[in-house]
Symmetry: C2
Subunit: 334 residues, 2 copies
């Protein structure tokens, strides 16, 4: 049997990344990154995604027919089964675009489509910080909060394929409005972007902070500056950062009750804050807030830890989605 | 092949129910109900469960060896895989009790154990208001709020087998303390018991209601009296009832985001309140609060409706669990 080679393509609002991954040892043999050019609409973007895949395959010194199949990670909403990406506020002009069909036509290889949060969760399970467990929940803490759920080694896409939107669990009924149209979503309190928004609102309302000057001079304030200021003892930054950690812990409690996974993995830009400022406070709050399910003195609560794939998450998740599709029988090997 | 006959045993804090169910048409051929006698501890209670099963089988004019297998629904926490019920505040004196092993030893038939919320969800999927969908979430509104999750025709027990505790999703971070040890749980706002507790707290704090006299004279006030008073225009009852409906809708939004099922089924004592007082307000609030995921103009949001098995839920869920175990390969037919 020929060596299995999976091409992973990860498509986001800013960049398209593609890479070739060797299944046997999950090694990334090549990778390319190009701009998405979101304004060009679905046709040109799908064309760029296909070219990125072709370039990654070439750079690895491989011919397309040697590639087992192509996995595509995309923002949702989408249908994995139908291989189409739906319209959404993040993708202006898209409308049930047949991404899988176009990939298959242009490359001659089987292809599979996954929600990027689901693909990332699967990537960690396949090749990252979830290799040693049977169930995990993945939370990516970036502009928004994305998620993915694996139970008994199965990816749980949800009944109508658009579940695991864990940033949009309501943690504070009647709380802050979310860009999604709901109120009180986890994302509204704990994502990097919304945290920065709340910090800036507080500055604009006259609260004092070491970052006031930076804000007044028009420089951007992100979760990075906030956690640095919090670590340095700035009270406003500390309050906003701790609040984000608190809400993350609340979200983890709901995840523990609904999914009861072995592990919750935190990923995304915010985890650069590290163990001391992010992981430890979230773990401590979680231990305080959750009901502490036990049997024979053994905890049945999930561990909370950091994901490990970092910048390779997109490619590894999309490539891993090929193996998932093989396991599930939707991609059949010759 | 002999006709398949499933014996279902449902065990709760008050009663043990057992029944024999014919698999071909899901007909209940016999049923018995006896008191649990919770104070007697695990040994005697498991003995009573076994006798209830034997009585139900006899009453149907069947011999135990003709029974395909026995399904047992029990309050959690428990392990389906190991067939044991763990210690919990609801079951004083229990400690990893090998319920399945004892059933098998005493009856000579294969047996399977499910959390009662999971079994009830499966029962509705197998023989009730979920027969026509591939995914559903079940919420039982009683003393507490129990749950069950089915995705792609699979029961999702959760990573460590103790998920789907949907009454203990946190919907109001920092909110009312729950008997489970957490705060702000859905159950705290929307279960029949906690609703009555809040109503009585309000009366004791001096709020006026048509039910004040009833309360003063020492008669009990349950969700039934509250919804009747609410329907009759009592402002305090209406406020507490509407709040429960609101929080149920909030819970349904989180369920829609995490599990994205085809349908959410409401069950338990509270659904006697009916369509006008319960279902319609929950649906209306849900439509107002959720982000309205759509594709091609078609909603990807779950419908919300009532479960249909009523008093047969326990037996049908436990009996259905036999078929689930056969499907999953954990009970093998000769």
């Amino acid at each position: 049997m020929a060596e299995r080679l999976y091409c992973g393509v990860d498509f986001g609002g800013t960049n398209i990344k593609a890479g070739l991954v060797r299944a046997s040892d999950r090694a990334i043999l090549s990778q390319v990154s190009i701009e998405t050019g979101r304004e060009h609409g679905p046709g040109p973007i799908i064309g760029r995604m296909i070219r990125a895949a072709q370039t990654a395959v070439e750079q690895a010194g491989v011919k397309m027919p040697q590639v087992t199949a192509i996995g595509i990670g995309s923002p949702g909403p989408l249908s994995h089964k139908r291989g189409v990406v739906f319209e959404s506020s993040n993708l202006p002009g898209w409308r049930c675009e047949p991404v899988v069909q176009q990939f298959q036509k242009e490359t001659g290889r089987p292809a599979t489509l996954e929600n990027d949060g689901n693909a990332a969760a699967w990537g960690e399970f396949w090749a990252g910080a979830g290799r040693d467990v049977n169930s995990l929940v993945f939370l990516t803490l970036g502009t928004g909060i994305g998620g993915g759920i694996i139970v008994e080694r199965q990816l749980i896409r949800g009944g109508r394929e658009n579940g695991a939107e864990l940033g949009h669990m309501i943690v504070q009924a009647g709380g802050r409005p979310c860009t999604c149209g709901q109120s009180g979503c986890l994302e509204t309190y704990a994502s990097a972007w919304k945290m920065a928004t709340r910090f800036i609102e507080a500055l604009d309302a006259g609260e004092k902070s070491a970052l006031s000057c930076r804000h007044k001079s028009g420089l951007p304030i992100t979760s990075k500056e906030i956690v640095e200021a919090a670590a340095g003892g700035d009270p406003l930054a500390a309050r906003i950062w701790e609040e984000a950690c608190y809400y993350l812990a609340v979200g983890c409690v709901s995840i523990a009750r609904v999914i009861n996974p072995d592990r919750i993995l935190l990923a995304g830009g915010m985890i650069a804050a590290g163990e001391k400022m992010l992981l430890n406070p979230v773990r401590a709050k979680f231990a305080e807030l959750n009901w502490k399910l036990r049997c024979d003195g053994m905890s049945l609560e999930p561990e909370i830890s950091f994901a490990s794939l970092g910048n390779n998450t997109g490619i590894m998740g999309a490539a891993g989605a090929v193996e998932l599709a093989i396991n599930e029988g939707t991609i059949k090997l010759n």
